[in-house]
């Protein structure tokens, strides 16, 4: 996956405006969406005639047509920095919201030429979010709105054929190790390490462990340390170094080193709590923070989101921010369902940059899916869940909602042979 990951690596940090990102996204997906729309509404739209697919501005009143553009959702509850800034500054900050959606939400579709308000019951049924590129079939109503009859997304992209693998070979997935500042790593974490190293359990488990080819750590290896401002504390003017604690990072380094040095390769993805930049795509953790693990050639620092190919099986994973943010836009809490949606949208993180912060790319949108992965996992979720999605062109995708290890003690093993997937549980109470 060198090309897909290559785009996720930020070469030059230049902070420009975001308009280009939306533009290249629309440009990158328009043809696919158009294609899908023409197929889906073949009986209604005659291909390549003037009134089939229009620029939004060219909509003619009352004529049924299909338009393609970027979704924008106007949501009253969406965090708004203007409110934060202009709000009386003595009022306490409002707590972050779990959901942005409300009954007043409005949908717009926008292209380079303009935007139009979408109306229709179908909009709320499809879990649509800001930033998605889609086609809508409908007509302009007398109020100047666009009445939507049907919606079409780009759909699943091409998937390379599943390789034939005869032996069991596992990829281990873990997320949310959450090493804290105070305690030494939990017992379950040590058990997990020992298992991976083949030092735990009976022969069955040891046999299983020996067939693991790679461990992917999907973010949040460290705990989110909130610095609580203490008003009562005597203010020290100047730099205060007492708040820094190097222990968690040190512990993580040791664990990773322990695993890597036993020849199990590790791909370390950063997550929202890890010491990397907050913007998506998150860049690999710099080596100096994990000096011991870095000594091992089996240790790879990678981006989030992350694409990789193992023996011809394509993996796509994120540390969870993408789906967490999408979930705020819709009432649906089924994370697998939302993950599936991103496949149809062909976009890993459509809510960037509106509510999910990302680097302002100019020439390409690295979150566009150019191909369909075989395995698609989302880290740091509440619970484990998995399913297989079948596409119209024989695509088959294993979706995994990967739970946080520190909360569930679960890691997930995926068998490359048949994409079967199951959890391994580690619990110190046993």
């Amino acid at each position: 996956m060198p090309t897909l990951n290559d785009e996720l690596l930020i070469k030059e940090k230049i902070f420009r405006q975001y308009a280009n990102l939306y533009y290249v996204r629309l440009l990158g997906l328009r043809a696919s969406v158009l294609n899908a729309a023409q197929k889906k509404w073949e009986s209604i739209l005659k291909p390549n005639t003037a009134d089939t697919v229009n620029k939004i501005l060219d909509i003619k009143f009352g004529v049924t047509c299909c338009i393609i553009g970027t979704v924008y959702m106007e949501m009253r509850l969406k965090p708004n920095i203007l409110d934060d800034v202009t709000k009386e500054h003595w009022a306490p900050p409002s707590p972050p919201r779990q959901k942005y959606c409300s009954d007043d939400d409005e949908f717009f579709l926008e292209d380079e030429s303009g935007r139009i308000k979408l109306i229709g019951d179908i909009l709320k049924q499809e879990n649509i979010v800001t930033g998605v590129i889609m086609a809508v079939l409908g007509k302009e109503s007398s109020e100047g709105n666009f009445e939507v009859f049907d919606i079409c997304f780009a759909g699943l992209p091409y998937q390379q054929p599943m390789p034939v693998i005869t032996d069991d070979k596992y990829i281990a997935l873990i997320s949310g190790i959450n090493i804290g500042p105070n305690s030494s790593p939990a017992l379950q974490l040590q058990m997990m390490t020992e298992f991976l190293n083949g030092e735990l359990g009976d022969s069955f488990e040891q046999n299983l462990a020996s067939k693991i080819a790679l461990l992917i750590v999907a973010g949040n290896s460290l705990q989110d340390v909130k610095v609580v401002e203490d008003d009562k504390k005597e203010k020290k003017y100047g730099y205060d170094s007492s708040s820094y604690n190097a222990q968690p990072l040190f512990d993580l380094d040791n664990i990773l080193n322990e695993i890597c040095s036993e020849v199990l390769p590790v791909d370390l993805m950063p997550g929202s709590n890890d010491p990397v930049n907050a913007f998506l795509p998150q860049q690999p953790i710099i080596p100096s923070l994990l000096p011991k693990a870095y000594q091992n050639s089996t240790f790879r620092r990678v981006t989030n989101p992350y694409w990789c190919e193992i023996d011809g099986v394509v993996f796509l994973g994120t540390s969870g921010q993408t789906i967490d943010d999408i979930a705020k836009y819709v009432e649906c809490e089924d994370r697998l369902k939302l993950t599936e949606q991103t496949l149809y949208w062909r976009h890993v993180a459509p809510t960037t940059p509106d509510t999910l912060w990302c680097h302002p790319f100019r020439d390409y949108d690295p979150f566009i899916m150019k191909q369909t992965p075989h395995v698609y996992f989302v880290g740091n979720q509440k619970e484990f869940a998995t399913t297989i999605i079948k596409g119209p062109e024989q695509q088959s995708i294993r979706l995994i909602s990967l739970p946080s290890f520190s909360e569930t003690g679960n890691i997930v093993l995926v068998n490359l042979k048949n994409l079967d997937c199951h959890t391994m549980s580690f619990s110190s109470t046993l």
Partner: protein, 1033 residues
């Protein structure tokens, strides 16, 4: 607002929206009556009368929305003079012919009659009480106003003599304008309904028609019915309101000039009063423009054609009211000047009268209440102009009057602001960029309408016109006086009073003692402070003591008429001025006030009952108009430059006011004592104009309110009706800083406080930066609401420390001032800065009329503030250090000390010095003096020790173990900046309503504008530092 989101009423099928009014129903003048609401009145000469007599034009519209022009004929201008001594009714003929002769001598009339009529009327002058004796006056009616003025002059300067004697040199009611004279005599108020019964009018013949109005009718002054605005007749006709905005393609750095810079777009919205959505939305563009949803885009390739088309549009859409933002001084004059320049000769005819040219005049309007303003005025006959900028400036005191900040204030939303230097670029682009501009222009056209709806300005002004009886147009173009004059004449005519004409005297303000102030017992009161207010103090004094022109009596008359002190007249505290009591004669001013106040009471009572929101708005507007009008009566008698100043009245009013405040203090302090069985001795800690603050000594709100009620009733009993002392509120706690400066938590019930009330404390003054306002507000809240004095102190200290460490956002430090004229004699920071910016880049420098935003930067020692002003953007880009001590000493310290001194006493000074002021951080500028010679050496990120050149490290030897920590610290900074950057720029995208286009907005009034710019730079810089860690440690 979002243009694309609002709901058009007319479909966008490519067919143009319908501009015309509803068609007229069948009306037969023999059978049907016509009722219309007149909105504008003016005078003109009847072109078909042989004597060229004046007539009134009433413009208005019917309930069905048809426009009406009604000519009223037959009303002749007149004035009064006192009848010469010994004048008998038989002398009339002789008097008339001699005045006629004298007039003919002055005016070559071609033999037609000039003096229409001389009548003897028994009248009484309004000035002074002379025992109710009516005297004979001569009412002289003239054929036109010009003759009237000449006659007036001849009589006043004594050049006309009757029987070789001059006629006294005084005229009465001769300076009342013809239109107002007509309105008063025919009982027409501003914007009321006029009904023409069948047979009382006729339709104009085709040759008589002179206007674009749908109905053109003629009636006589004694034939129509003028309905007072009551009951059903208080309704408002469906006025058509045009809100428009123009854009000009200016040259870089020069404010658009009509002789050079073309008008490129005109956006229009026509709305029917009371309806939510616009009826017509269109934009006239020069050159092609991509379509806009639900809006007619009318493209023109020749500017002259576009202007003409706009004129035709206005005529066809026929708006009754034209609104906009700064249209009076910019948009309208610009359009007209531009049309002159382009020689579009048919352009300036968008008024309602077909052949009257719309022209621009310079006017100077000077009023005590509103200050002196130089304005341009444009006559658009028959259409009301209502410039929302002028309304805002009159009715609201704001930090800034840009459309953007006014909208942020009242509509709670930011508006995209495209700087005029970008406008030209957008215009020169392609149809898409012009569409972008058109959308911006449409927004600007729609905002004044929304602002007007939100603030109910039109309704309130209509009600004001009705209450005071002046034409609507006077409200924006004239001051307070004309409103009182109108009411005074209306009252006077009922009681056969005549009002002497006074020559306008300039200025000459004789100062007289103003309202009194009881010296404040400064301090911080942590007990309830009860406030007792006199409701409508000055009006009620005038009513209670019957103060009026007609009741003023001098010593000679008192002796003549044998009046007795106290039973017949009173002596006021001002130079023993004497007024007869109401039993002898009821004054005019008191009865005007009574009418106003009882009407207000009624409006308030109706308001309580009314449920329909639109009618409620009308009633609320009315009660407000009544209150303002009542208060302006006092001002009228005190305005020495006015038409009828009367120091005896105005000075007596204030003298009574002073006495009453002092008496209240005495009464309260002598009754509420421990001797009389109360728990504490009450103390009046402060009193001002119409209120006193009492400390009853109780520690809870319930008691304080109970005592307040009791005291109000008790003291009211000591005064004449209708003077009433009311208990309204309790402040608890209360911070009394000085005269007219205080703050307190405002309670009207003992359960929940209402608000934080402040007076005279730095908040809205614009030469303060926002930081001051925020700090003061927050400190006051902490002290008064949270009762946390130490919290307030530490907040103030933290802010000072943040300031000194450069942690305050730039937008908090920006000071703005308008660049109003080019030559200031004294050097001022914003003027100097504008000059310097012009040298740097003439294109983006502020021009005349722009607001200049600046911050104060570090300068050489002893440099004056005007040398240290700098453009905030330039400061951001070049890391120029802010002069934080200037902000501390010149901006923060005084207001802070002011509020903390009463609380902390001498300790307040410790706020400004101490530990928290020790750490100071400077930024290193990238330009300027010494920097040319400086060599930039990397320093250790841990301890700032200079590193050896080309060292492949970011820290020194000693800090190396701390690398991880330093990295994460830097990372945290970067992440904070990244989040800020993302949030700010995505917010701007949301605000501009487009994801695919770059944000252009340059609204400096927007609170996040500087932040946005700074976030971009901060994140870039911080990321660069972070990059340096990318080597193996």
């Amino acid at each position: 607002m979002d243009i694309q989101r609002s709901q058009p009423l007319v479909e966008s099928t490519g067919k143009r929206q319908i501009w015309t009014r509803p068609s007229i129903p069948y009306i037969n003048s023999e059978e049907h009556s016509i009722a219309f609401q007149q909105i504008e009145l003016d005078e003109c000469i009847d072109p078909y009368s042989a004597s060229r007599s004046p007539m009134i034009r009433m413009f208005g519209l019917t309930e069905a929305g048809n426009s009406v022009l009604c000519y009223v004929k037959g009303f002749l201008p007149y004035f009064y003079i006192p009848a010469p001594n010994g004048f008998k009714s038989g002398d009339i003929v002789e008097f008339k012919s001699s005045l006629e002769l004298a007039l003919q001598h002055e005016i070559s009339s071609g033999g037609r009659e000039l003096l229409n009529k001389v009548e003897v009327k028994l009248k009484e002058t309004i000035q002074g009480y002379h025992g109710k004796q009516k005297c004979p006056f001569l009412k002289l009616s003239f054929v036109d106003t010009k003759t009237l003025n000449i006659a007036k002059r001849m009589i006043e300067d004594g050049s006309f003599t009757y029987k070789s004697r001059d006629v006294g040199g005084i005229t009465f009611e001769s300076n009342l304008k013809y239109v107002l004279r007509f309105m008063i005599d025919c009982k027409v108020t501003g914007a009321n309904w006029i009904e023409l019964p069948p047979k009382s009018y006729r339709f104009c013949a085709e040759y008589e028609r002179s206007s674009h109005c749908q109905l053109e009718i003629i009636t006589r002054h004694d034939q129509f019915i003028s309905h007072p605005p009551e009951g059903d007749w208080s309704k408002i006709a469906p006025l058509r309101i045009l809100s428009f905005d123009i854009e000009c393609a200016g040259r870089k750095g020069i404010f658009p000039e009509a002789t050079h810079d073309p008008v490129i777009q005109i956006a229009n919205m026509v709305t029917v009063q009371g309806e939510k959505n616009p009826l017509i939305r269109n934009v006239f563009t020069l050159n092609s423009c991509a379509p806009i949803i639900a809006t007619d885009v009318l493209e023109y390739y020749d500017e002259g054609n576009m202007l003409q088309a706009w004129c035709d549009f206005v005529v066809e859409a026929d708006p009754d009211v034209i609104i906009g933002y700064n249209i009076a001084n910019f948009d309208l004059p610009y359009l007209i000047d531009r049309a002159i320049h382009l020689k579009v000769s048919r352009f300036p005819y968008f008024g309602r009268i077909k052949c009257t040219k719309v022209e621009v005049r310079d006017t100077r309007f000077s009023s005590k209440a509103y200050g002196t303003r130089e304005n341009k005025s444009t006559n658009i006959d028959g259409r009301i102009q209502f410039d929302m900028l002028q309304v805002m400036q009159r009715d609201h005191k704001l930090r800034s009057y840009t459309l953007n900040s006014v909208c942020a204030h009242f509509l709670g939303e930011q508006k995209e602001d495209v700087h005029h230097s970008i406008i030209t670029d957008l215009h020169n682009g392609n149809p898409e960029t012009r569409r972008r501009l058109a959308i911006y222009c449409l927004k600007d056209a729609y905002l004044p309408q929304r602002l007007m709806d939100k603030l109910m300005c039109l309704i309130n002004y209509l009600e004001m016109a009705r209450v005071t009886g002046v034409p609507f147009g006077y409200l924006l173009s004239r001051g307070q006086q004309i409103k009182v004059i109108s009411q005074l004449y209306r009252k006077a005519i009922e009681q056969d009073f005549v009002i002497p004409a006074r020559k306008n005297v300039e200025g000459m303000d004789e100062p007289f003692e103003g309202a009194t102030v009881i010296d404040p017992e400064k301090g911080f009161y942590n007990v309830p402070i009860t406030t007792l207010d006199f409701s409508s103090l000055y009006p009620s004094i005038m009513m209670a003591h019957n103060l009026c022109y007609t009741t003023l009596v001098d010593q000679r008359e008192i002796e003549n008429l044998k009046l007795k002190n106290d039973s017949d007249y009173i002596i006021t505290p001002y130079q023993s001025a004497r007024f007869v009591k109401a039993e002898v004669r009821k004054g005019l001013l008191p009865s005007i006030l009574e009418d106003l106040l009882s009407a207000r009471k009624k409006a308030k009572a109706d308001l309580k009952k009314e449920t329909d929101p639109f009618k409620r708005a009308v009633l609320d507007g009315r009660q407000l108009a009544l209150k303002i009008s009542a208060n302006s009566v006092y001002g009228f008698t005190g305005a020495s430059a006015g038409q009828m100043p009367c120091l005896e009245i105005s000075a007596s009013v204030t003298a009574y006011g002073r006495q009453m405040i002092e008496q209240t203090k005495r009464e309260v302090e002598s009754r509420f004592t421990m001797e009389n069985g109360y728990k504490h001795d009450a103390q009046v800690i402060y009193g001002d104009t119409d209120s006193v603050m009492v400390k009853f000594g109780v520690d809870n709100l319930v008691d304080a309110m109970k005592l307040g009620q009791e005291a109000a009733e008790y003291v009211t009993g000591k005064f004449l009706r209708p003077i009433k002392l009311e208990f309204e509120k309790v402040y608890f706690p209360y911070l009394l800083i000085n005269k007219k400066r205080y703050a307190g938590l405002y309670w009207t019930n003992s359960e929940k406080w209402d608000k934080l009330d402040t007076k005279g404390i730095e908040t809205v003054r614009r030469d303060n930066c926002l930081l001051v306002q925020n700090v003061i507000e927050t400190c006051l809240r902490k002290v008064l609401i949270d009762r946390d004095v130490s919290g307030a102190v530490s907040y103030a200290k933290k802010t000072i420390s943040d300031l000194l460490q450069n942690k305050i956002d730039m937008s908090q430090l920006v000071i703005t001032k308008a660049l109003s004229k080019s030559d200031y004699s004294a050097k001022q920071p914003h003027v100097e800065l504008a000059e310097r910016m012009r040298k740097r880049d003439p294109g983006s420098a502020p021009t005349l009329g722009d607001r200049v935003a600046y911050v104060i930067i570090k300068g050489t020692k002893g440099a004056a503030a005007y040398e240290k002003s700098e453009d905030p953007i330039y400061v951001l880009e070049n890391n120029i250090p802010i002069d934080t001590s200037y902000y501390l000493e010149n901006q923060l310290s005084k207001p802070l000390l002011r509020i903390f001194e009463p609380i902390l006493g001498d300790k307040a000074e410790s706020l400004l010095s101490g530990d928290h002021t020790r750490v100071v951080q400077h930024t290193t500028p990238t330009i300027g003096g010494l920097m040319k010679f400086a060599v930039i050496v990397p320093t250790c990120l841990g301890c700032k020790v200079p590193l050896t050149k080309n060292a492949d490290t970011v820290v020194c030897r000693h800090c190396k173990p701390k690398l991880g920590e330093l990295y994460q610290k830097q990372l945290a900074t970067v992440n904070e900046f990244e989040t800020r950057f993302a949030r700010l720029w995505t917010q701007c995208q949301r605000c501009q309503g487009s994801l695919h286009q770059d944000v252009l907005c340059s609204s400096r009034d927007c609170p996040i504008w500087y932040m946005r710019k700074k976030a971009q730079k901060d994140v870039q810089d911080a990321s660069a530092v972070l990059e340096k860690f990318n080597y193996e440690w």
